[in-house]
């Protein structure tokens, strides 16, 4: 197990390094000179030069990349002498737009993204897995057909369309809910709940539909397996059969998918956050891309990749804990 973990972690580090390198070179070679855009319109060549010097843009790209990576772990200094600015580790640099520390921007916005993701995840797991289970158990009934038809529609509706429809009816037309804003829970719990209700619903609906379909298919598959036939032959009651024998094997694939979806969303639910104007990681990504703010784009990409990669590792570990069949084969 220790060797397996070590191998996995090495692979993870290599993967993150590759993503880092690739992102860095793509963005810093594709886009225009950041020094010019920072300097603004009334700019002298000397000023541009000094900015380039401070940011280290005059050095070869590989050296710049090295500075970036070492800054992540050990911090770095911008400029030299008395004017030098110390950027403590983990140093993601400073936004070209606002001069804010990128690390502070990220830590400030992560709570919003986490709130959106966790709330939506609770909703979609309850609705999706619940509907899927019911559909499988009551297979062929009107309940099954209705929930699967709804799920099919839920998969097909783009989340921004749903967001706009909800916003039109709930906020503009009937004014049941306030316009979403990132209110903190401690400031006003009720307003907090109201604000996040729409983002949660919008995000959860698509996933709930997918999970309902996935759960239903898996449970039906499991119910036709031999070990369940045996259990049934031994005269076990149906609720007990479902709970003790059918649930675990049919929910392990759901756990896998859930881990990856959840990790993916922590890196920013870009469209949902943007449509509702919630200041999370996703909106930060969208804004930084629109303004070509390279340090922020870089940081957001790395953060999202970090979540995705670690989500994958955690899923694999959970999987072997949940499913004994996997455990025996793992090295």
């Amino acid at each position: 197990m220790a060797r397996y973990l070590l191998g996995r972690l090495t692979a993870v580090v290599l993967l993150l390094a590759a993503i880092c390198l690739f992102t860095y070179f793509i963005f810093f070679s594709l886009s225009a000179d950041p020094a010019v855009s920072i300097c603004g319109k009334t700019c002298t060549p000397e000023r541009i030069d000094s900015i380039r010097d401070t940011l280290g843009l005059n050095e070869p790209l590989l050296t710049q990349f090295w500075h970036f990576v070492s800054g992540l772990f050990a911090g770095r200094d911008y400029g030299t002498g008395a004017t030098a600015i110390r950027c403590e580790a983990p140093c993601f640099g400073y936004s070209f737009q606002t001069n804010e520390s990128v690390w502070h921007m990220m830590t400030g916005r992560l709570p919003v993204s986490v709130t959106v993701t966790v709330g939506a995840a609770v909703l979609w797991l309850l609705i999706g897995v619940g509907a899927g289970l019911l559909g499988a158990v009551k297979q062929g009934t009107w309940w099954d057909r209705a929930s699967m038809t709804l799920a099919l529609g839920g998969v097909a509706v783009p989340n921004y369309v749903l967001a706009l429809v909800l916003q039109y009816f709930l906020v503009v037309r009937f004014q049941i809910l306030p316009f979403p804003s990132a209110v903190s829970f401690s400031a006003d719990p009720f307003l907090w709940f109201q604000s996040y209700l729409m983002p949660w619903t919008v995000l959860a609906l698509v996933y709930a539909s997918m999970y309902a379909r996935l759960t239903r298919a898996n449970v039906i598959d499991t119910l036709s397996e031999n070990f369940l036939r045996t259990a049934r032959a031994k005269g076990i009651s149906r609720p007990l059969l479902l709970r003790r024998h059918a649930l675990r094997p049919s929910l392990t694939p759901v756990v896998t998918v859930f881990g990856m979806d959840f990790a993916g969303l922590l890196g920013g639910a870009l469209i949902t956050e943007k449509v509702f104007g919630l200041n999370g990681i996703g909106k930060m990504a969208a804004d930084s891309i629109a303004k070509n703010d390279q340090p922020v784009i870089m940081a957001v990409t790395l953060l999202a990749a970090f979540f995705a990669v670690f989500g994958n590792v955690i899923v694999d570990l959970l999987y072997s804990a949940l499913d004994p069949r996997v455990r025996t084969t793992s090295p």
Binding site: L30, L152, Y160, A308
Partner: protein
């Protein structure tokens, strides 16, 4: 799931070479399904209208780029005259607020853009995914290692952020080609993963061994023996990929990095309609409903196809 599903027979070996589901029986099974027929009908109608978009705009006399200020109420800040977003004999689906472009023409020209991008991405993704997945699953060893690591790499990328970033940092050029390239770059691993796994099981079957024994080269085995057996899963994946890519294209255009204006696209129209939906909801409803029904029809079709091929596979 259906009455035709036979009981699973554990232990008995599968038949040496199951005949791939014939095209004819697939079509027949789908024709019996009312929902599938309605979906197909809608999609065919949409394709036909999209193909005939120039003809339609000639009939109504409105091009997708012609401004019609007469249809707008300048006292109300450019909201269309009349009810329901200015629906009239002249403009069957109304006009866009502020510039008075005909929505019918723009929606149909937008369909051409969306469908072309989605279909090309699917073809490119499918080819890359099938070829790379088959190669990895068949040759195993270092080839598999390289392809699998590349897949891990691409799948752990925050694809949406990256797509937007690439699209917005490349200033000009052919937007549609770029969109197809970017979508396919991040899309093929999802195809390849399934194909690779299926190829691995197929590669161990007797008919592949038989082909080897009779001296067939690897390429021949891959494309003549293995590929035909992958057909049904490829068909299903393709049908489910198209709506996904229509959604992706619309999403990217919605975020403002897709097809560049004035070229119409559904996502872009929806994005423009955001600032108008309180006063002119129809401007949002038409492209939104069209996008939804197209994606829904394709999803339903893919779903039914999968059910049919699953049932045939189990038989």
């Amino acid at each position: 799931m259906t009455a035709t599903t036979a009981l699973p027979e554990p232990g008995t070996a599968a038949p040496p070479a199951p005949p791939p589901p014939a095209g004819g029986s697939l079509t027949r099974a789908l024709l019996r399904d009312r929902t599938a027929v309605i979906s197909t009908g809608f999609l065919l109608l949409l394709c036909l209208l999209a193909l005939c978009a120039p003809l339609v705009s000639q009939l109504t006399g409105n091009g997708p780029y012609t401004f019609d200020s007469a249809a707008l109420d300048s006292h109300l800040g450019g909201v269309p005259h009349g009810a329901l977003g200015g629906i009239s004999a002249e403009h069957p689906l109304g006009v866009e607020p502020q510039n008075g472009r005909d929505i019918l023409a723009r929606v149909l020209y937008g369909a051409r853009v969306s469908l072309t991008i989605a279909l090309s991405s699917t073809v490119l993704t499918g080819c890359l995914g099938v070829v790379l997945g088959m190669t990895a699953g068949y040759f195993k060893g270092w080839v598999d290692q390289v392809v699998s690591r590349l897949m891990d790499f691409l799948m752990s990328f925050p694809a949406l952020i990256f797509m937007i970033a690439i699209l917005s940092s490349v200033p000009s050029g052919n937007r549609s080609v770029l969109l197809v390239a970017v979508i396919s770059l991040f899309g093929w691993p999802y195809f390849a993963r399934v194909i690779r796994a299926q190829t691995m099981t197929l590669a161990g079957r007797e008919f592949v061994e038989a082909a080897h024994a009779s001296g067939a080269r690897s390429a021949a085995v891959l494309f003549r023996e293995i590929l035909p057996n992958l057909r049904s899963s490829v068909i299903v994946m393709v049908t489910l990929a198209v709506p996904g890519y229509i959604g992706t294209e619309a999403g990217l255009s919605f975020l403002g990095v897709g097809v560049s204006p004035p070229t119409p696209s559904w996502g872009q129209m929806i994005s423009t309609s955001v600032s108008w939906y309180a006063v002119d909801p129809m401007f949002f409803v038409i492209p939104g409903a069209l996008l939804f029904s197209t994606v829904l029809s394709l999803t339903v079709l893919g779903d039914r196809l999968r059910a049919v091929t699953d049932a045939q596979g189990a038989r």
